[in-house]
């Protein structure tokens, strides 16, 4: 794995963007995040994270269409970069390795 470390929220946001079939912006990311985790996030946290991920090169952004609901303001649409995909896959592989390292029967012992 490279030196770039992802925080938990960064990872979640990156996953949400990766999971969507098209370009997404702040609000859908926020809603999906809340739906999936059952936690409350603020829009400012989501934006901060999206921008930071773009800065790290895991996302790219472009300006998207405006709607009346937004008072005519345009959206900033985000899409996953190859770099971003790679980092997600690295994380998953690392996690899988760790999962596989858990001794057999340990969870059963804990009653899980």
């Amino acid at each position: 794995m490279k030196k770039t470390v992802l925080g938990e929220l960064e990872e979640l946001v990156l996953l949400v963007v990766a999971a969507s079939t098209e370009d997404v912006y702040g609000v859908p990311v926020l809603e999906e995040l809340q739906w999936q985790t059952g936690r409350n996030f603020t829009i400012s946290a989501v934006h901060t994270t999206l921008y930071r991920l773009e800065e790290k090169g895991f996302l790219v952004s472009s300006v998207g269409g405006a709607t009346a609901e937004r008072g005519g303001r345009s959206k900033r649409l985000f899409a996953l970069t190859a770099e971003g995909g790679r980092v997600l896959r690295d994380i998953q592989q690392m996690r899988t390795r760790l999962w596989e390292a858990i001794p057999e029967g340990k969870f059963q012992l804990l009653g899980l």
């Binding site: 829009i43 400012s44 934006h47 937004r70 303001r73």
Partner: protein
């Protein structure tokens, strides 16, 4: 399910505008659009899901979350690595430098400011202390004003409570307004206007009562009220029932009285005796009313029904409309307008009165919110009251703060020459003017911030003294968010105000001239400074003159001849029935103590007139008028006891029957218009009264008002107060002990409770005295602050002209020459300020004095004294610096060049 969309126009469903503006102001422009768009989108969804109010709350919350440095500063978002940047990248194309006010520069400014402060400790401390003193005064005054403005606001219903006042035609044409009404009024209001009032309660005057529980005896003020009164006032009950007075033999006690009577024992259902007349059961204990309420002295409430049943004359008064000895409080229904209601009930009592014999009267509702500040009536209209003091203090506070700000401005501009090089270099290096302005303003803000901390300290330290001076119990409301918002807003404002002049003045220097060394402060450069000094001293001198005149007026009224001997005169109010009916026995017992010169009784205390009566007629009276006379029943020894001054005729005497004799004061004689009045007859209620004497006017009521025309008649059955004239030169402690013994013999149930008449008289000045003391305190501070500024300026000038002084001394100038050189300019400024302040203060004080019927004159010496005082203080302040400069060794100042 089909979702229903609200059909309201979209603009009504918008988030709070101020939150949006905050966002727009704070968030970096290239991020704003997307962030705000997302916020709005979420908001619109939430409006549909929850409610508008909820969505708005959430919006504000979300906006507040956005106010982080990230959104304010983020300038370099975008792929960090090299590569083709999209045209719509987040990096702005043509604004490589962020707004400095929002970035790290601001920290830098404060750093520079701090270093500057530290480098010039002398100037800094003068500036900061001056500003802190000004702010502390403003804070204390603000606290005082707040306390006055929120007087009575602790009652939950204060917006809807009112007292019924009566406006009477007096002496033919003059209208007087007082709070006394007839006792049937309560029932009348309930019967005919009941739908407008939620509650109506009659009440007695708040008077001292003797309370006894077992061996414990105390005196406390209390009122007889109807059962609904405590809940109208929203008394906070600690124990028992707020409606406890529904049982007429119950009593509600304040916590302090309950504590002193019963200690820590549970007071509920305990029995106590009032005025040794009747026993009551404690039905409830309420928290003492806060200090800033009109009724805070009412420590107990008793049942009105019991009062009517128990006291004969009160019972009698329930059928008559001409005995106005009671008070009436009302609570209006929610939607009722007090002004409209006043118009409605205006003539409610006239329906029961005979205009020809009883005179005209109108009812007025005085809202509780006005009780404190708008208590003065003239011709039936509110003409103000304490609100004048509130305005006066607000003005003083603003001026004192202004003086402090002026100091700050003066000192910083004075130092400008020293800092001109710094400004020049900054400009040459590339600072733009707005950056210099920001720097000087942040410097001012830093100083204001430090001064604010000091002022908090000063205010806290001086608060006890201030509370004593103003007779209040205020505390700094540290836990109030509002207090901090006001304070911080106020500090920022002060900082900006104080810093504005130096900021704009210093930043306009031309760098080229400054750095070439050709920069010279022009001939008129110090002119604004001089103007500010003149403003400062004009304000200070005006305040001083005003204070002296307020004092002079108080002294004038105090020294007004009262017409009787108030020294060593004691009054005992006869509150318990035991004291009545023993006049002769008590008198001889008291005289037998050998400490008493004389003793008498009367119906009104000598410091006020409790009863005004109409229905007098005499030969030559204009039948169209119905003048009222203060009427006082006395015993025959009254005149000798208080030592009134007989002008004509004789005093009441044992040698005559005197049952139809009356004595008039000069004002009453004047009102009748009769000449040689002794021996003439005045008729009242079919009775012929013979005038046997005329006394000189006595000041029985306000020492500022004209004397009430008063008739004295002998009526030992109508007495309320016992007077004891003490022999001169007897140790008071022993004498009082002897008196106490006599009083205990006749009145065993009550404590011996007396007042000294001269103290009671002094009470009449307590308000003015207090205001005078406060004004003096502030005037002294204003002078102090102004002098502090002058001190700083003088030291600056001395410093600036150090070399010149050195040269002059070397060439033979004397110390006096140098002193004269430095002081003359300042003295001229003060003389000029004096000339400005004289007409100003003359105008204001002349207007103020018009409020008083008896007023002092604006003597020339007041102005002269204030002017001389200012000159002396200035001289002292400036001399310190100029003499220091004059005696300094010239070698030191000249050696460096």
């Amino acid at each position: 399910m089909i979702r229903k969309y609200r059909s309201s126009p979209p603009d009504r469903l918008s988030p709070p505008r101020w939150a949006d503006q905050l966002l727009e102001w704070f968030v970096a422009p290239h991020l704003l659009e997307y962030l705000q768009g997302d916020l709005h989108e979420t908001f619109q969804k939430r409006v549909r899901q929850v409610s508008l109010i909820r969505a708005r709350q959430e919006y504000v919350w979300a906006v507040l979350h956005c106010l982080t440095p990230f959104f304010a500063n983020q300038q370099t978002i975008g792929p960090r690595k090299a590569g083709p940047r999209k045209a719509d990248s987040l990096v702005p194309a043509n604004n490589p430098y962020p707004n400095p006010a929002l970035t790290d520069m601001i920290g830098n400014y404060f750093k520079i400011a701090w270093r500057n402060l530290w480098k010039n400790k002398g100037y800094s401390s003068i500036t900061i202390l001056g500003l802190a003193a000004g702010m502390a005064v403003a804070m204390l005054i603000g606290l005082w004003i707040w306390d006055e403005l929120t007087y009575d606001h602790s009652h939950k219903n204060h917006n809807r409570l009112a007292q019924v006042m009566t406006t009477l035609v007096r002496n033919g044409s003059e209208l007087t307004t007082n709070r006394f009404v007839a006792s049937p009024l309560g029932n009348e209001l309930r019967a005919n206007y009941g739908s407008d009032f939620e509650n109506v309660s009659m009440a007695s005057v708040n008077q001292s009562r003797e309370l006894a529980a077992g061996e414990k005896k105390i005196t406390a003020k209390g009122m007889w009220v109807e059962a609904n009164f405590p809940s109208m006032l929203t008394l906070k009950m600690l124990q028992g029932n707020i409606n406890g007075l529904q049982d007429p033999s119950s009593i509600l006690l304040s916590a302090s009285v309950a504590k002193s009577l019963f200690g820590d024992a549970d007071p509920i259902n305990k029995v106590l005796r009032i005025d040794n007349q009747a026993s009551y059961k404690v039905a409830g204990v309420y928290e003492d009313l806060p200090h800033n309420t009109t009724l805070n002295e009412a420590k107990l409430f008793l049942s009105w029904d019991k009062y009517v049943k128990m006291v004969g004359w009160v019972n009698e008064s329930m059928k008559h409309w001409d005995n106005k000895s009671f008070q009436c409080y009302v609570q209006l229904n929610d939607h009722i307008d007090i002004t409209k209601e006043t118009a409605k009930i205006r003539l409610a009592s006239m329906a029961h009165l005979n205009a020809a014999s009883d005179g005209q009267e109108e009812l007025v509702l005085q809202p509780m919110n006005n009780w404190r500040l708008y208590g003065e009536f003239k011709n039936g209209k509110v003409v103000g009251g304490r609100i004048q003091f509130v305005n006066l203090f607000a003005i003083i506070g603003i001026f004192v703060l202004l003086l402090a700000c002026i100091n700050f401005m003066n000192l910083s501009t004075a130092r400008s020459e020293k800092r001109s090089k710094e400004v020049g270099i900054r400009k040459a290096v590339g600072s733009v003017r707005s950056q210099l302005i920001s720097q000087f303003l942040s410097e001012a803000l830093l100083i204001a911030g430090i001064a604010f901390l000091f002022s908090l300290l000063f205010a806290q330290l001086f608060l006890p003294l201030f509370n004593t001076l103003s007779d209040k119990q205020m505390t700094l409301p540290f836990s109030h968010v509002f207090f901090w918002i006001v304070c911080i807003g106020f500090t920022i404002l002060t900082g900006l105000l104080a810093g504005s002049y130096p900021a704009f003045y210093l930043s306009h220097f031309d760098p080229l001239k400054v750095l070439k060394g050709t920069y010279r402060v022009g001939r008129f450069a110090s002119l604004p400074r001089k103007v500010l000094v003149v403003v400062q001293f004009s304000v200070s001198i005006t305040l001083v003159i005003g204070t002296i005149i307020v004092y002079k007026q108080i002294q004038f009224a105090k020294n007004r001849p009262v017409g009787y001997n108030r020294e060593s005169l004691l009054a005992v109010y006869m509150t318990t029935p035991d004291l009545f009916g023993h006049y002769d026995a008590m008198r001889s017992d008291l005289l037998a103590t050998h400490v008493v010169e004389n003793m008498a009784e009367s119906s009104s205390p000598v410091t006020s007139v409790w009863s005004n009566q109409i229905g007098y007629s005499w030969e030559g009276k204009d039948p169209a008028t119905q003048p009222s006379f203060g009427t006082i029943g006395v015993t025959k020894d009254y005149g000798k006891t208080i030592n009134w001054q007989l002008k004509e005729g004789r005093d009441f005497s044992k040698d005559f029957s005197d049952s139809n004799s009356i004595i008039l004061n000069e004002a009453a004689v004047k009102l009748t218009g009769m000449k040689n009045i002794v021996g003439k007859i005045i008729r009242k209620d079919e009775k012929n009264l013979i005038v046997v004497g005329v006394i000189k006017d006595m000041v029985m009521e306000s020492p500022y008002a004209p004397v009430t025309p008063t008739i004295f008649l002998v009526n030992p059955g109508w007495v309320n107060v016992i007077y004891v004239g003490m022999k001169a030169g007897i140790p008071l402690q022993d004498a009082l002990a002897k008196l106490a013994k006599v009083f205990e013999k006749y009145n065993p149930a009550a404590p011996f409770d007396y007042t000294f008449i001269d103290e009671e008289y002094a009470q009449k000045f307590s308000d003015e005295q207090r205001i005078g003391n406060l004004a003096a305190f502030f005037a002294a501070l204003a002078v102090f602050i102004a002098c502090l500024g002058l001190f700083g300026l003088a030291s600056f000038v001395a410093e600036q002209r150090k070399k010149e002084i050195g040269l002059r001394k070397v060439l033979g100038a004397s110390i006096f020459n140098v002193w004269n050189l430095l002081s003359k300019e300042f003295m001229l400024l003060v003389v000029f300020s004096f000339l400005v302040s004289v007409p100003l203060s003359y105008y204001f004080m002349h207007n103020w004095l018009q409020n008083y019927e008896y007023r002092t004159t604006l003597s020339w010496w007041v102005f002269a004294a204030a002017g001389m005082g200012a000159l002396m203080i200035t001289l002292a302040t400036v001399s310190f610096q100029s003499i220091k400069a004059a005696i300094a060794n010239p070698v030191k100042s000249l050696r460096t060049e």
